[in-house]
């Protein structure tokens, strides 16, 4: 399973990529939407894109629209990972074609939950048994 992490913050890219690697993903990184489009255009095949909203050159929403408009990438799952938490923004992203929306800050469990629901990870249940 491969994931492309698109975020202009190097720290955030590392965090998201690190979490994805823990879940067994092979990760790639891009600094903004255009950078990511170039990678995809160049033949990078991924199952998942984790996309920040506010980035220079090309923002996350534009990237989502561009990917959705191209049949070559119809199998790619798109998840916004952003601090934008207004309801209207979430609706916009979904309407543009994002499959999921994870609001920063998030816990590793939250990321795993979303990916599990998207069918991108094996179900993981953690059971704390005091006895």
């Amino acid at each position: 399973m491969r994931a492309l992490v698109i975020d202009d913050s190097r720290t955030m890219r590392r965090i998201v990529a690190g979490n994805l690697q823990q879940l067994g993903f092979e990760t790639y990184q891009a600094e903004h939407g255009q950078d990511a489009l170039d990678l995809l255009d160049g033949g990078l095949e991924v199952d998942l894109c984790c996309i920040d909203w506010n980035m220079p050159v090309m923002d996350g929403l534009t990237f989502v629209s561009r990917v959705r408009a191209d049949p070559r990438w119809r199998s790619v799952t798109l998840m916004m990972v952003t601090t934008e938490s207004e309801q209207g923004q979430i609706v916009r992203a979904l309407a543009a074609g994002a499959h999921e929306y994870l609001i920063k800050p998030f816990t590793p469990d939250a990321l795993r939950d979303k990916l599990e629901f998207l069918g991108l990870t094996a179900p993981a249940w953690t059971v704390e048994e005091p006895a």
Binding site: G43, F106, D113
Partner: protein, 421 residues
């Protein structure tokens, strides 16, 4: 001061008597860490001194707080996801095939914690049931503290992030400041009530579906069997029990039949143990032995009729003395007290067909939005839509309640640039 063995043994005994949860030796760290917040209030953070003071008397209200602190309230939306898929693809079609499309289904979410499970159930049922069918959910937990939170339907951003699919979030919740509020329509389908699984279940009640997940793991074998026995008595013969992923009835209670569904299982009363009617998974054979659309005997009181009708019902959060087992109002008593003839909650209209943004819909080229069980899809025994027919072009992205994994790339091509960084 570290927790003494004597204090640990006293706490373990208290927790076992009140909740049947077993705290074996070696769990001292768990007791210490969970009781630390309570000890801060009373003894400046000394857990052993706190336990000794509570044991000394005059702090009976603390008993409930201790039990509550040691019961795990881990929960998330659509936890494990597979049970909700099973509900939509197998349990509901089976029930509707025997009850008819105007069935009124009664669901019990036992040990519901802060409400994510019953609300997830309500979202699933709202989407999956055909027009005319309706449902009501009874959600119970030992802890009044978590029930208060569950009733409020208000969740933090971090809680919302835990497993709630974004399309459902924007459909069923509204952002209020830094938090998110469940819609009134969804809240009205659920009655929250304090109930201890060691107590008798609702008197005369009959449920079609019982979710009892990640609870049995905490009990010893005899208690597990007793709880399963009580659940079987209130489950319709064609009803379904859903347990946690790590739980089973096998080897504990033979009066259940395991029905593999997808990657998980549901359980139905075996023929020998059932009072009659077609068991889940069996061909429809006339009216099932369940309530078949009628209200529960005694009825689940409508939330409007009996709001939080269980005084002193909880172990904790209530007044001193509320913690006594005798003071806990069994569900049946609360139901009788409410004296209603069963609430026929109007089925909330699915908002699915209406995009939240007028005029905006998913482009026709959209690869995999996943409108799950479209309304009206579950008539008769026909399974609800599966992955292959759940993806019509042009559907609103907000119709999605489940997701299908996108078709993996046929031939992975190594990246030409942007190597793994």
């Amino acid at each position: 001061m570290a927790l003494s063995q004597e204090s640990f043994a006293w706490v373990a005994d208290l927790v076992r008597r009140r909740s049947a949860i077993q705290l074996a030796g070696g769990k001292e760290y768990l007791v210490e860490s969970r009781l630390l917040p309570l000890a801060r209030d009373l003894t400046g953070g000394d857990v052993d001194a706190y336990v000794q003071r509570v044991r000394g008397g005059g702090h009976d209200g603390e008993h409930g707080r201790i039990v509550e602190a040691l019961t795990t309230n881990e929960t998330s939306w659509f936890r494990d996801s597979s049970p909700f898929t099973s509900l939509r693809t197998h349990v509901l079609p089976q029930l509707l095939s025997t009850r008819g499309s105007v069935a009124h289904l009664k669901v019990w979410s036992a040990a519901c914690s802060t409400g994510q499970e019953p609300y997830s159930l309500a979202m699933t049922l709202t989407d999956a049931l055909p027009p005319g069918a309706s449902f009501e959910i009874l959600a119970t937990d030992l802890s009044e503290q978590v029930l208060t939170r569950a009733r409020s339907g208000r969740y933090s951003q971090l809680e919302i992030n835990r497993g709630l699919p974004a399309p459902l979030m924007v459909r069923h919740l509204t952002r209020v400041g830094a938090e998110w509020q469940i819609s009134d329509g969804l809240r009205r389908t659920i009655t929250f009530r304090a109930h201890n699984l060691l107590d008798p279940p609702p008197a005369g009640a009959r449920f079609d579906i019982v979710f009892l997940r990640n609870v049995l793991i905490y009990f010893d074998a005899a208690t597990k069997k007793a709880i399963l026995d009580r659940v079987r008595r209130v489950l319709a013969p064609d009803g379904a029990l859903v347990l946690g992923a790590a739980e089973t009835t096998i080897g504990i209670d033979d009066s259940w039949q395991r029905v593999p569904v997808g990657t998980g299982s549901v359980y139905t009363p075996s023929r020998a143990g059932a009072a009659g009617g077609a068991p889940f998974g069996a061909p429809a054979g006339g009216p099932a032995g369940g309530p078949a659309g009628g209200p529960l005997a005694g009825g689940l009181p409508s939330p409007r009729v009996a709001p939080a009708a269980t005084p002193a019902a909880a172990l904790a959060g209530g007044p001193p003395g509320a913690a006594s087992l005798a003071a806990r109002a069994p569900l049946g008593r609360a139901v009788a007290a409410a004296g209603t003839a069963g609430s026929l909650l109007p089925r909330p209209r699915p908002a699915a067909a209406q995009p939240l943004v007028p005029g905006q819909s998913r482009p026709a080229t959209t690869p995999r939005p996943v409108p799950a069980a479209a309304s009206g899809a579950a008539r008769g025994a026909r399974p609800l839509p599966n992955a292959s027919d759940r993806n019509p072009p042009g559907r609103s992205p907000f119709d999605r309640t489940t997701y299908d994994r996108p078709t993996p790339a046929a031939t992975p091509v190594p990246p030409t640039r942007g190597a793994q960084r």
